[in-house]
């Protein structure tokens, strides 16, 4: 056996870091601050999840394990209606936002430079910076002003608008890293503009589009302020329903709903992240 001793990259890096490198972990108090951060972020969430399985009527005092609250949630028709509203609004709004964001990204990156390009980009990304309450109030005033009252329709329009930047960013990132040479090769091989898009641009862009769709979807599902202000009777979404329950009094039923929402968010964000990461690995 003539095996040589090899150092794994991680070991190599560790050895490199050795003595001289600046290590942020050595600053006094850094470790404690990190632990405090984790405590305050995750302890409430952990408690929320744990007490959703509480057998008693209390959201703070543990008695025994049970799935009663989940059964109650499943049987509650108000919750079902709110969940359905959330699903419709998020589904339609995120699809629209993703389609618009895809065209916007194509125009920005592949359309060649045009006048006011920077301005267009800033306008597109504005909802990321403008406080949500401002957008909500502006929407309400605008909808009232033009007399538009489509119920869920109003909510879908509002969600589409503020979801566009969330869909745009991953699509744009993917497109930026996509060399135009593939599209040129397609054109060289007798594909006209539409077929170049369909056979080459779109499949190569798909991971970005999917990630954008999921981010937009979850942003819409999680939204509270805009849904509250723009919504009307009958457009109650899940976050608003949860909030209304709290005002009646906290029972483990809220914990159960919140845990379900948390689970959905977690799944979607993980998927978006996984897709984006997998597409980074391929060219």
């Amino acid at each position: 056996m003539s095996e040589t001793v090899r150092m794994s990259p991680a070991q190599g890096a560790a050895a490199n870091r050795g003595a001289r490198r600046f290590a942020v972990g050595r600053i006094p108090g850094f470790g404690a601050a990190t632990w405090a951060f984790f405590l305050f972020l995750y302890a409430p969430i952990a408690l929320l999840v744990v007490f959703s399985f509480n057998g008693s009527n209390s959201a703070t005092i543990w008695s025994h394990f049970s799935l009663d609250w989940y059964v109650k949630v499943a049987a509650n028709s108000d919750i079902q209606r709110a969940a359905l509203n959330s699903l419709i609004v998020a589904g339609v709004a995120s699809t629209l936002a993703t389609a618009l964001a895809t065209f916007a990204a194509l125009a920005m990156v592949r359309g060649g430079p045009f006048r006011g390009q920077q301005l267009a980009l800033s306008t597109l990304l504005l909802p990321l910076i403008v406080p949500e309450i401002v957008i909500a109030i502006a929407m309400v005033i605008f909808f009232t002003g033009i007399g538009l009252s489509l119920g869920l329709g109003n909510l879908i329009i509002a969600h589409t608008v503020f979801c566009i930047p969330f869909a745009y960013l991953p699509i744009r990132a993917r497109l930026d890293s996509l060399s135009p040479v593939y599209e040129e090769a397609a054109q060289d091989l007798y594909a006209d503009n539409w077929r170049t898009f369909w056979h080459v641009t779109f499949p190569l862009l798909a991971p970005g589009i999917l990630a954008g769709l999921m981010l937009a979807f979850i942003t819409s599902v999680d939204d509270f302020i805009i849904s509250l202000m723009v919504g009307s009777a009958g457009t109650t979404t899940l976050p608003i329903y949860i909030y209304s329950l709290i005002r009646i009094g906290i029972t483990p039923q809220i914990n159960a709903i919140s845990t379900l929402v948390l689970l959905i968010s977690f799944i979607f964000v993980s998927l978006a992240w996984l897709i984006a990461r997998r597409s980074e690995a391929s060219p």
């Binding site: 040129e184 090769a185 397609a186 054109q187 091989l189 594909a191 080459v200 190569l204």
Partner: protein, 377 residues
């Protein structure tokens, strides 16, 4: 204004590609305009292996992209078999490209990549399948049709790119430095392979490279480019043996360059009393005081020893400055006072050849009159 252009019928020579006075200016906002291709004209015949050779940034890729239709000329025109290509998008031109980075579609298998052009042209799927198999065999990639491009080696990817372009049986195949990403051994093998494919298919190849050796080995004709212009155009032997200008001479192989003034049509005066004789009256005898550059290849120079040099013309004494052993050859660098220049002599290291001199030794070098030529000023 009617006489401004000659009638097309009179100027178009028929089959092949004609590039007529094409200029491409890149006019990026905020930076200086770049003249990538400058009033360039070329005629490339059918079934020709034509090479565009030039240093980085001389406009080779830009010229190819204008032929492919991926870039529009600022002025001038490109004609194929007498028809102007102006305004035709890339997908309407019977021209295919092997891109420098290969540009294989990463989401398709090798077979799908090769079939892409045929599919876009709406061919029957049975015909496509047969053609794909045939072309993959031609580039020696049988049995790899199911693989993804990422699962292939660089050389294999290069051949897929070639197969994808050849499958369409274009009139012209454009190859943009297709070998530059390969290692030396594979590159040498692919040179022969490309040459074989060109002969086998009868397709016109327009090949871009900045490697002079590659250009000389493969081409029927070579155009040497610099700063968007053609400096010299001709078969490889002519380009190598008689480069017209100093730029071409330096770019292709090593060259000794000697400065002097013509005495008459056959003799050049070098500094003091030394003279360089030519085999024929090639020197311009009118402009007396005009300095000229003449050139000779290192392998044409000879080292001559004591006895038998009297009957040789152009023999000078020089001191050996440096010896460079290259395996098959040895290069001897001499300082030759009479020429006011350094001369490199390239000797073959054959069995029984004379032992090369030592550094610091004084030797005699002969510059055969027939091997000298005059460079354009």
């Amino acid at each position: 204004m009617t006489g401004e252009r000659a009638s097309p019928a009179g100027t178009v020579s028929g089959a092949g590609l004609v590039i007529r006075r094409v200029t491409k200016v890149f006019d990026a906002a905020g930076s200086q305009a770049v003249r990538a291709v400058d009033d360039l004209s070329l005629e490339i015949g059918e079934n020709e292996f034509f090479t565009l050779l030039g240093p980085s940034g001389c406009g080779k890729t830009t010229l190819l992209r204008m032929i492919a239709g991926l870039e529009q000329p600022t002025s001038g025109e490109v004609l194929l078999d007498g028809d102007p290509l102006q305004g035709l998008p890339p997908y309407r031109r019977p021209i295919n490209t092997v891109f420098q980075s290969y540009a294989l579609f990463p989401h398709m298998s090798v077979g799908e990549n090769v079939a892409f052009g045929l599919k876009m042209r709406g061919l029957d799927s049975a015909v496509i399948a047969r053609k794909v198999e045939e072309v993959l065999a031609l580039v020696r990639l049988e049995g790899l049709a199911e693989r993804r491009p990422a699962q292939l080696s660089g050389g294999q990817q290069q051949r897929v790119a070639l197969a994808r372009a050849l499958a369409n049986e274009p009139k012209i195949l454009l190859l943009d430095e297709p070998l530059s990403a390969l290692d030396l051994k594979l590159r040498k093998q692919m040179r022969l392979e490309l040459k074989r494919l060109q002969k086998a298919t009868g397709i016109t190849f327009i090949f871009v490279t900045h490697d002079q050796e590659e250009a000389l080995i493969m081409s029927d004709r070579v155009a040497v480019l610099s700063e968007g212009r053609v400096l010299q155009l001709g078969p490889p032997e002519e380009i190598y043996q008689r480069p017209r200008s100093r730029f071409v001479a330096d770019f292709i192989g090593d060259t000794n360059i000697i400065l002097g003034r013509p005495k008459d049509a056959e003799r050049l005066v070098l500094g003091g009393t030394a003279e360089l004789r030519f085999a024929a009256p090639v020197l311009p005898s009118d402009g007396q005081d005009q300095a000229l550059s003449v050139a000779i290849r290192p392998e044409s120079c000879r080292l001559v020893n004591g006895a038998a040099y009297d009957d040789l013309a152009n023999v000078f004494e020089g001191r050996v400055r440096e010896i460079e052993y290259l395996g098959a050859d040895t290069c001897v660098l001499l300082d030759v006072e009479a020429l006011g220049a350094s001369i490199t002599v390239r000797l073959r290291n054959t069995e029984g050849a004379a032992v090369p001199p030592q550094e610091g030794e004084t030797v005699r070098v002969s510059l055969p009159a027939a091997a000298l030529w005059v460079l354009e000023p």
